[in-house]
Symmetry: C2
């Protein structure tokens, strides 16, 4: 919910449909002996392998007990695609269209009128206030059960405007391998994202192998009510927690209660999570996905309105964090496509 109220989303919103269709990348080669076959050999991949070897070497100077092997990952732009707009925002727009029959007043009421007319400039003109209204209209007023059902149904059919496949097919294969590799080495993997926690929980388990209780995100207030002697949780149009920027270490402390030893992000919204991870005792791994591949995915950083990477990139370079260069470090981007035409 809350990420949608970011000012930066406005411009991104205008970018819908600017990109043509491009064939997705080659499928991952699999090598039985290589835990990260979709990563090209080089210093980036090696920094991951070295870190895991060091913290799992029993008796070694950098050994970390399994219970403390907490790894946190941002979602949008780190585990799956976030361009041209955050997936959850695409969901909200589609929901406005789907709900418009029950809301005849939307035909003349902004920001809904602009969405229904396909007038993206008009939508952008409604500003942050408009974004909040869209989120309130589409993410509240129903039970948590009904909301989860709506998200699942949408994810099962909605296609990405450029790649023409399901959004859950546009996860990053190298990161899926990394999640698996960490778990095989005793890590507990968490998602710590600015995206809505209930939205992500509908697919994180199946898509990433991250169960609901290990997904931390932004959330709205929910209210316990009795309907026909049966308890329900109602999603209210009020922000509960914004898991972005300085909210990420706060969320990590509140929801997990341990400091990660490994964190991966891709934008300035991950800066504080990476700093918080780095500030712990002992060996730490901080990683940033740098989107450098306009041909196979997208190329953006300092000037992007979605997933802006500026201060965190400078800090990462200065402090020697691992910068995964999508174009050079990733042999393949997406998993073998299941729903591509």
């Amino acid at each position: 919910m809350t990420m949608l109220s970011r000012r930066t989303v406005l411009a991104a919103f205008l970018a819908i449909g600017l990109f043509g269709s491009v064939a997705i990348g080659a499928q991952a080669e699999t090598q039985a002996t290589d835990p990260l076959p979709s990563w090209n050999d080089g210093p980036t991949k090696q920094s991951i392998l070295d870190f895991v070897a060091a913290v799992t070497k029993d008796g070694g100077p950098d050994y970390v007990a399994p219970a403390e092997r907490i790894a946190t990952f941002d979602n949008d732009g780190t585990l799956w695609i976030e361009q041209p707009i955050y997936t959850q925002f695409a969901f909200a727009i589609d929901r406005v269209k789907a709900m418009s029959n029950q809301h005849p007043e939307w035909k003349t009421q902004e920001p809904f009128a602009s969405i229904l007319k396909g007038d993206l400039k008009g939508l952008a003109a409604s500003g942050e206030k408009g974004m909040v209204e869209i989120v309130a209209a589409t993410h509240s007023g129903m039970t948590t059960t009904d909301f989860n059902k709506e998200v699942k149904e949408w994810l099962a059919i909605a296609k990405h405007p450029r790649f023409k496949v399901l959004y859950t097919d546009l996860v990053y294969q190298p990161m899926i391998e990394l999640l698996d590799y960490l778990r095989a080495n005793g890590f507990k993997t968490f998602i710590v994202s600015g995206g809505g926690v209930e939205f992500m929980r509908t697919f994180a388990d199946k898509t990433y192998g991250v169960p609901p209780e290990q997904v931390i995100g932004s959330s709205g207030v929910t209210q316990y009510q009795m309907w026909d002697a049966s308890p329900v949780l109602i999603k209210m149009p009020k922000v509960f927690f914004v898991d972005d920027g300085p909210g990420k270490p706060v969320g990590i402390n509140t929801f997990i209660g341990r400091r990660p030893i490994f964190a991966f992000g891709n934008s300035d919204g991950d800066k504080e999570m990476l700093e918080w991870t780095a500030a712990g005792d002992g060996l730490r791994f901080m990683g940033i996905v740098h989107h450098t591949d306009a041909a196979r995915e997208y190329a953006y950083d300092r000037d992007s309105s979605v997933g802006k990477l500026d201060k965190a990139l400078d800090e990462g370079v200065a402090k020697g964090w691992t910068i995964a260069d999508m174009k050079n470090d990733w042999k393949t981007i997406f998993p073998p496509a299941k729903s591509a035409p």
Copy 2:
């Protein structure tokens, strides 16, 4: 933090020291073949054994996949002692005394003056506002790291006024066995308590085998700050989340994201958690600890200001939930004492 602001705590506070010292119960007998040796044989124990057998029987009509075997436990009065006052409240009072040298103004300023004089009636007169001030003074204004250190140091030396042992020795042996038994059967055990989440996380792993990321509780707002180029989280004097009553299903949904199939509480503050658990599909277990043993622990329910059990008891009896009668169902109350004199 928040539980301390409850009005009902006021009266309980006056009860400090009213109870004499009584020898603690007999140590648990251990039987290799009995997973719950501290539970007397009978319908209560059998209801637990039957439920676990049913949901773990592969191919059976009530089978539940391991990932969905979520069990939630209240803490105060369910897993450890809560009389004559909540342990966290005893901590807050001791912190006021320990901090008083740095606060000369407290000698004349309520509610602190009453605590320093040992005037419990004066403290009670300061009302809910006074309680909030005590919590704000003792649970905020420091880093999370420093707070955790204070709690650990206190738990290592503070003794219960009646039993004269550490508070962590006053956990319920039958419930420890139950937690172990559930985990041995593929359950993931969570604490869902009105107590402060950071307070509980300092001992829940060692004491209950519940890691920090599986402890849900009340919490205050924390703020990310840079101190000497190092990030810290500062505990602010502001409530973030109250994990009590209807807040329990809300907390379960927000922090865990799955509905429990097994829940245990002991007071009206657990009613909604038990209802939420019961309302799921398939076989469910709802349990209530009924404190009926004044000789070995305490006897209280409908009229108690701490851990009041009234509406939840009526609902539990009416709906056939398991009521664990401490006096009759528990062979022993506390684990073999480590620090008793």
